[in-house]
């Protein structure tokens, strides 16, 4: 249950990537073109409708309300960016914006974090 600091390096060359979601001014916008992963301090427990996600460090609790989203969160670490993860998990193209929004929410509560390895 080691605490992992949120990586806060600003993205260089800030041309907005497709599907980028803007969030409050004091936070960096979620960048789906970067590599992400589920945070190390986070435990993920499957539920009939999706999964419960608990962050042992900040004690935030989130519910993922679809099984495919659970698969995406787990698969993030193995792909270079969000779009390739969504494609690998066979998420229909039309739903990609909703998934990016969901991942942006998870990044705000530190459930997912940028990873340093490409």
């Amino acid at each position: 249950m080691a605490d992992t600091a949120l990586v806060t390096d600003p993205a260089a060359g800030t041309s907005p990537a497709a599907g980028e979601v803007t969030i409050p001014a004091d936070e960096l916008p979620f960048d789906p073109s970067l590599p992400w992963q589920k945070s190390a301090s986070v435990a993920l427990r499957p539920e009939p409708f999706g999964a419960l996600v608990y962050h042992f460090g900040n004690r935030k609790l989130s519910f993922l309300k679809s099984k495919p989203l659970v698969a995406v969160v787990k698969a993030l670490a193995e792909h270079p960016d969000v779009p390739s993860t969504l494609r690998a998990c066979e998420v229909p193209e039309a739903q990609h914006p909703a998934y990016v929004t969901a991942l942006a929410t998870l990044s705000r509560s530190q459930m997912i974090e940028k990873r340093s390895t490409p």
């Binding site: 608990y54 004690r59 935030k60 609790l61 989130s62 519910f63 993922l64 309300k65 679809s66 989203l69 039309a94 739903q95 914006p97 909703a98 998934y99 929004t101 969901a102 942006a104 929410t105 998870l106 509560s109």
Partner: protein, 36 residues
């Protein structure tokens, strides 16, 4: 106090009658009744 929040999802294509549900919902660890 951590609040229960819902993500806003963009409206799907015009043919869809129902707006998509948000996929993530946050819950406060202190926000359920029946606990000390």
């Amino acid at each position: 106090m951590p609040e229960q929040t819902e993500t806003e999802t963009p409206a799907p294509a015009a043919e869809e009658v129902l707006v998509e549900d948000s996929l993530v919902e946050e819950v406060s660890i202190d926000g359920m009744c029946g606990v000390y």
